[in-house]
Structure formats: C-alpha cells, structure tokens
C-alpha cells in the first residue's frame, strides 16, 4: 500500500456535468440520492423545529407558550413530516438509491427515469404538505383518526392528505425499482446468498413498500373525499364506522414502521462487518429475518387498537402475533453482537452510532413487548410510554443508523472524509441528548400522562423538564453534522477508494464513483464480507480469490 495522499479521480459522477439541469433532469441514481439527501434533510429540519417548539411548551404544566390550536398543529405536523417525509424515505431513498446498484454490480437501477419520477413525487407531496403547514396547518394528529379528521377538524386536512397520498407513490416506485434491480441486475456470480445484508434488508423493505402503501393511499383518499363530499364511511351518523378507518390506516402504518427500521438494520449489518473486519455471524439467519419481519409486519396491525372496540378475540390474536414479530429482531441483535467476537474492532464515528443503535434499539424493541401485552397495554396506550417506545426505535434506532451510514459512505459519496473528532462529539451528544429526552417519557407515561397533551398536571413537570433539556442537546447534536458534512464537501480530507479497507463492491470502485459505477461489470467470486480468505464458515465452503473484473 502506498503512502501518498489519495487524489480524486479525474472524472466521476459529480464533475461529469454541472448546472441545475444536470441535477433536475438526471437519471443517475447517485445524483438522485443526493437530491433526496437535500430534501429529507430539509424535512428533518422542519420536523425538528416543530419538536423543539413542542418541548418548549411542555417545560411548564400550563399552556403558556403557544395556544392549544397551535400546539395541536405542532405535534401533528411534527409527526406527518417526520414519518412520511423523513423516516420512510431517508435510508432507502438516500443510501439505498446510492448503493444498491453499486452493491449488485450494476450501472444503475432498473428504471432510472422512474427513480427521478419518485423524487419529483416526493417533492410534490412535500409541497402539498408545506402548503398545508403554511396556510394554517393540520391538527388531526399524524394518524388522521375519524370522525375528527373528516367532520370536526377545522384545519387543512385535504391538502395534507393529498401530500401524504402523492408521496406514497414515491415510496411505491422506489420499492418497485429496488425489487426489480435486485432480482434481475445482479452481476455474474452474485447469488442471493452472496448479497450484502444491506441489499437483503432493502429487498424486504421494498416488498412492504409495494404491498402496503397502496392501502394507505386508498384510505387517505377516502378521508379526503369524505371530508369534501360529506360521505359516510367513517361517520356513525351516516351509517359508517370510525373504527373501520383505524383498521385501514394501521394495516399500512404498522408495516410502515418496518419500512423505517429494516433499512436501518441493513446499514447496521454493513457497519458491524466493516468495523469488525469480519463476516456477519449467522449471515443467512440475518438475511431471512428481514423477510420474516416483512411478512409478519402485515399481521399485527390490531395491536394499535386493543382498546378501540375490536373484540377481545381479535386482541388475543394480534397480541400473539405481535410477540412473534419480536423474535427475528432479537436474532439480528444477537448475531451482530456475536460478530464482534474475535473481530478486529475500530471505533470511528460510524461504529459509535452502531453501538448507540444496538443499545437503544434493544430497549425500544423490548418496550414493544410491553405494548404487545394486552393487560399492560390498556394502561400505557395513548400515553407518553408509547411516545417513548416509538422514539427509541425510530430515533434511537433508525436515525442513528442513518447517521452512521451517512458517515460511513460519505467518502464514497463525496470523495472526502468528514472530520472524525467532530463526528465523535456529535455522536456522543446525540446519544446523551436522546436518552435524556426520551427515557423520562417512559416514566411519565406509566404515571399516566396522556400523549398529545398541551397542558398537564404539575406532578409531571420534573420529568418533562428533563425531557426538554435533553431535546436541546439532541438538537445541537443533529445540527453539528449538518454543518461539518457540508464543510467537508469542500475542505474535507480527500478519501481513497477504500478508506476503511472494507469489503463490498462499492469499495472496489473510485471515491466518488464514475457515472457508470464500474469501468467494466464486476464478476463476483466470493462471499459477502470476505475478510479472511482462509476462513471456514460454520456451514459453508471457503471461497478463495478476490473479486475480479470480467
């Protein structure tokens, strides 16, 4: 290995063309990934500002910072923006778009123009949501429960619903693109069980995106129509049933949370392998667990409705199935931990995010068991316990993985390294801030503080103050990477093709890659994460030799 400083490749996907047209009309999956990076970062900022305002109001028991109507819009828009415009697209549309073609050895996704269309649909959906926010906001909660949303709310339900509807098609088309790419465009020698686990995770996610999202599309369309035309499907005074809406809504929205977590798990698998320089323990089990989660995710939606009026028998069935869906997630956590055994572990920022993820996801996931427990869920549902649970998995889980992945692949995406010590500081701030924000919410939730409360009894104040203090630290921890990542694009140390000495097709090409990803289509002759050529895997055959280019 030479010791001269790496230089950027002469031509790569970023400098091959300049100007706004080369971006807005691109079909290069890598550029589209960056378009998404910009948009989801904007969404994250907006959602984050709403969150800070919420926590500001909750510093004191009385409602004294904003009015009740405003507060109701704040928590609703925080949820809508974060769920539909950050959490669902972030990892798939940024990291998935960038990496999947490269990881399978292809030049692009199967349908590059549809990929661009996906981004435009996301933007248009976002514009509808922005319009809804700027002209008065939405106050139904991100869950749009009827008949409040269809009959009683005085807020911008229709424009927000249309925003969600349109952005849903962005998600569907992304999933469709990934499914076809992974099935049909793998390089020679790249069998299914040689795929990186990142690809497996996105494949499972895409199945959910394609099959689940149409149902929320239909449901939210019905809500908009019912509101405008005063139909009666969800209105008991016209022969409808409000609980029908809940069934339809959660049939998608539960699998949706697995759209949010599965890609994150894929990222974690890649990072654990790279920073232990070891094959993921139990590769096949981790791969299959993604599919198991995707399948089971469609069978548990009723656990959001244990007290809504569904029958006790339905409750028992949904409870049992909800316990089952915890098992494949546990399998992953154990396998990641086992991967560290006898590995060669380093502690750069991405790995710090991995440690945070595993710890926080374990807590968040296990608190899911509390909610699957029927007798206990009655007490904690609709309280801050739920809020804490889903923030542990979505923020402590997915967002940590997103940041870890962004840091890990940053040199590949930009050709530059981020500043390591600032990154470690940010990771630490995020970890501390996160726990301080959300752990007290478990406690105050069990004590009985309901969610979506703008004012609360004084005995809950101490815990709320702790939570709000944490939110400030968390917010600062998030702002830091936004600043130094942008800084690094111009001033960061230039990265080599493989600064981590990691295995994977993406590291076999330059940083940044050329538009066509590889000068020639690679031919794959070894297993994933082939860090030790002489290693005999527990139940596989050794595969000698390195990746060759055909």
């Amino acid at each position: 290995m030479t010791t001269e400083a790496p230089a950027l490749p002469r031509e790569h996907y970023l400098n091959v063309a300049y100007g706004w047209k080369s971006w807005l009309f691109t079909t290069d999956h890598k550029r589209i990934a960056l378009l998404y990076l910009a948009s989801v970062s904007l969404a994250f900022l907006a959602g984050g500002v709403f969150a800070l305002l919420i926590r500001l109001e909750l510093l004191t028991p009385a409602g004294d910072v904003v009015q009740a109507e405003t507060y109701n819009r704040l928590f609703t828009m925080h949820g809508v923006v974060m769920v539909f415009f950050f959490m669902i697209p972030a990892i798939p549309a940024v990291l998935g778009n960038f990496l999947i073609p490269i990881m399978v050895g292809a030049r692009d996704l199967a349908f590059p123009r549809i990929n661009l269309l996906s981004w435009y649909l996301y933007v248009i959906g976002g514009l509808f949501a922005a319009y809804s926010i700027l002209t008065g906001g939405l106050d139904t909660g991100w869950t749009f429960y009827t008949p409040y949303s269809t009959v009683y709310s005085n807020s911008n339900v229709v424009s927000a619903a249309l925003g969600v509807f349109i952005s849903g098609f962005s998600s569907i088309l992304t999933g469709l693109n990934f499914i076809v790419t992974i099935h049909k465009m793998r390089a020679p020698g790249l069998t299914w069980f040689r795929l990186p686990l990142f690809v497996w995770a996105h494949y499972a996610t895409s199945l959910i995106q394609v099959l689940g999202t149409p149902v929320i599309a239909a449901t939210i369309l019905l809500v908009a129509l019912e509101r405008v035309l005063h139909l009666g499907f969800f209105d008991p005074t016209r022969g409808g049933d409000p609980v029908l809406f809940q069934h339809l809504f959660w049939f998608y929205s539960h699998p949706a949370v697995y759209i949010m977590i599965l890609p994150a798990m894929g990222v974690i698998s890649e990072l654990v392998a790279a920073f232990s320089r070891k094959r993921i323990f139990g590769y096949a089990f981790v791969a299959m667990s993604s599919l198991a989660i995707a399948a089971l995710s469609f069978l548990v939606w009723g656990h959001h409705m244990f007290i809504s009026g569904q029958s006790a028998y339905a409750g028992l069935v949904f409870s049992a199935l909800s316990f089952l869906v915890a098992i494949p997630s546990a399998v992953k956590v154990f396998n990641w931990t086992a991967t560290l055994y006898k590995g060669s572990i380093s502690f750069q920022a991405p790995m710090l995010y991995v440690f945070a993820f595993i710890g926080l996801f374990t807590i968040g996931g296990l608190t899911g068991l509390f909610l699957a427990s029927l007798g206990l869920d009655i007490h904690v549902t609709d309280t801050y316990f739920i809020v804490a649970h889903f923030h542990y998995v979505m923020v402590g889980g997915t967002t940590m993985a997103y940041l870890g992945g962004l840091h890990f692949w940053w040199p590949k995406i930009t050709g530059r390294m981020y500043p390591e010590w600032w990154a470690r500081l940010a990771a630490l701030m995020v970890f501390v801030g996160f726990n301080l924000t959300f752990f007290p919410q478990f406690v105050v939730g069990y004590l009985g503080m309901p969610r979506r409360y703008y004012a609360y009894p004084p005995e809950f104040q101490v815990l709320n103050v702790l939570s709000s203090a944490g939110a400030t630290i968390l917010g600062a921890g998030y702002v830091l990477p936004m600043v130094y990542m942008v800084w690094s694009m111009r001033y960061g140390k230039i990265a080599s093709a493989n600064p981590w000495a990691a295995k994977g097709l993406e590291w076999e090409t330059s940083s940044p890659p050329p538009t066509e990803n590889f000068p020639r289509q690679p031919v794959v002759e070894e297993e994933a994460y082939h860090y030790a050529p002489d290693l005999v895997v527990g139940h596989g055959a050794p595969s000698p030799g390195a990746v060759s280019h055909g």
Binding site: I307, G309, F347, G375, I378, H379
Partner: protein, 336 residues
C-alpha cells in the same frame, strides 16, 4: 408526594397485577439490555484493533446457537403472552354484580349518569369495594376514558357502546384523563374519580339534587316522544312489544336472529330501518337528532325495567314492592 414515584397509586383490584407484569418486563428489558451492552463492551475492548493488518480469528457459527437464541426468546414471549392474556381476560370479564354507570364523552367534557339519577360533569363518585361497569359512548369524536390509578382505559366511540369495569380499593381522589386526541381542549378534558367509603357514598347519593333515576327519566322520554303509541303493552300496536326485550333473541324480517342488547336498542331508535322485526312493517321513523346520547341511555334503562310477558310494571323508583325472587333481586341490584 413521597420521593420520586414511578407508579401511580394502586387503587383498583387489578392495578397491582398490571404493575407486577410491568415490573417483570422492566427487569427483562434491563437484563437483556445489560447483557448485550456488557457483551458488546467486553468484545469491543478485548478485540479492539491493534494493528492495521490483523486478521479476524477463526469463528465457528454453530446452528445450535442460532436455534437457541430463537427458542429462548420464543419461550419467554410465550410466557409473557399467556400472563398478559390472562390478565386481560380478567380485566374484560365484568363481574355479575357490577353497578352500571353511564358515561358520554363530548368535546370537551365527560358527562356521567348514575342509574339513581345523579349526574356529574368531569367527576365520578363511586363506592369502594363495589365493581363499577362503565358504559361509554361519545356524542361526537372518539374519546378515551382513562384512570391511571385504576390502570383502566377504554375508547368512547361515537355510534357504539363500549364497556370497561373496575373495582376501586382505596378511598381517594384520582385523575381522570381523556386519552384519545379530540381537538382543541383535549388536554382540558380531565377530571376526578372520587372513591368513597360506602357510608359516605350513600350520603353523597342522598344529598344533592338527584333528579329522576335513569329509568324514570327514560319512562318520561318514552311518553314525551309518544313511543307508546306504537309500542303498546297490550300488543295491539304497530310496533313490537318491548317487555323483557333486553337479552331476548329477536327474529328479523330477513330471517336472521339477533340478541337484543343495548346497541340493538340504540340502533332501533336511531336507525330503525336497519333491522325490522319479523311480522312488522318498516314504519318506525328515525329519532336521530331528536334524542341525545344521554336520552338514549335513559330509554334503554327504562326498557330494561319492562318485565316479561306478564305485562309491564312501573320502574323501581319508589320503595320496594315485597318479596322478589333471587333472580329479580340480582337484577334489581344491577339496575340500581
């Protein structure tokens, strides 16, 4: 407030059981989190990279290990499922001697009616040691009746009746919250549950403007709305006889049979054409908008008092009428 509590007060018969399950799950979560964190900490330290070109060690991946860490969590969750399901079933099974209370949620208040006629807003007085069955509905959007100290919560859904029950074990005043977002004053839709010793509760019942009992109020409405024109006790009317209706199996014109419960009666008043009794014409007009949710509850309470084929009797608003069969006595306790 003593120290820093992690639990609300345990003021109902199942609060402690809920807390026990919770504590077990907290311990389980702490155990596995610490286990994973420790393993990661130990491995990260022991196998930290010491030189750039070190190779990972030889590791066997035994299938038995994978099976073990599928089987053990599976066994654990099966245990938790049965434990929580058992708790849930007992929380769902309303005791036969439960006293009914009727709750109507409305933006943004809770309207409570006792069978004996007391009405409360955002407050519910109950005696200690007697099971109370909450009959919940809503006038507008979905609300949720939540008493943290009792560990009880149930949605109040417009257009249907939902049921929850509790048995208060400690006198005191406890928070009542609305737990389903319902608009502007959702966080203002709060109140108190006041649990009293039986003697004090009787005193509270006796004092204050009681008004008509639920059933007497229903009889008044029944006459005001002229229901008796068609639903005549001598079965000469155009409408079916209502005596002994609650709990009876009714044959419909389309051949189906339904059990007449509270929701059936409510539907028959609000949407009469939904189910036509066999042998009768669909001529009943709808009373939607003409009767409030509380009025509907009063009518149902009245209909409940109409006795079997022996003919109608006045509702028990006055003094006791003489020896009654144990079954009737039990029914009296329920309707009071």
């Amino acid at each position: 407030m003593q120290g820093f509590p992690f639990f609300p007060e345990q003021a109902s018969s199942f609060a402690a059981q809920v807390d026990h399950l919770y504590i077990f799950l907290v311990a389980l979560t702490a155990f596995f989190t610490l286990l994973i964190a420790t393993l990661i900490g130990v491995f990260a330290f022991q196998y930290r990279r010491r030189s750039e070109d070190e190779r990972p060690g030889h590791v066997v991946e035994p299938m038995a290990l994978e099976v073990a860490w599928i089987a053990v969590p599976l066994a654990i969750v099966v245990v938790i499922f049965f434990w929580s399901a058992h708790l849930y079933i007992s929380m769902n099974r309303v005791p036969r001697n439960a006293v009914d209370v009727y709750v109507v949620g409305k933006r943004w208040m809770w309207k409570v009616q006792h069978l004996t006629g007391q009405r409360e807003i955002n407050e519910l007085h109950v005696p200690v040691g007697i099971p109370i069955r909450l009959n919940l509905t809503s006038e507008d959007v979905i609300h949720s009746f939540f008493i943290p100290a009792f560990r009880v919560k149930k949605d109040a859904v417009p257009g249907r009746y939902s049921v929850a029950w509790f048995l208060a074990t400690k006198p005191g005043t406890y928070h009542l919250f609305c737990a389903e977002y319902c608009g502007t004053k959702h966080s203002g839709m709060i109140g108190s549950i006041v649990v009293m010793e039986p003697a004090r509760f009787q005193a509270w019942l006796a004092g204050g403007a009681a008004g008509l009992s639920l059933a007497a109020g229903g009889q008044k409405l029944f006459n005001e709305l002229a229901c008796v024109t068609c639903h005549r006790p001598d079965s000469q009317g155009r409408g079916p006889l209502l005596d002994g209706l609650l709990g009876k199996v009714v044959k419909l014109a389309n051949g189906e049979a339904v059990t007449a419960n509270e929701e059936y009666i409510r539907e028959s008043i609000v949407t009469p054409s939904a189910k036509i009794v066999a042998g009768y014409q669909p001529v009943m007009p709808t009373y939607q908008g003409l009767v409030s949710e509380e009025g509907l509850l009063q009518l149902i309470a009245y209909i409940r008092t109409l006795k079997g084929p022996a003919g109608g009797e006045a509702p028990p608003a006055a003094a006791a009428e003489g020896p009654r069969s144990p079954k009737d006595q039990a029914r009296d306790v329920r309707t009071q």
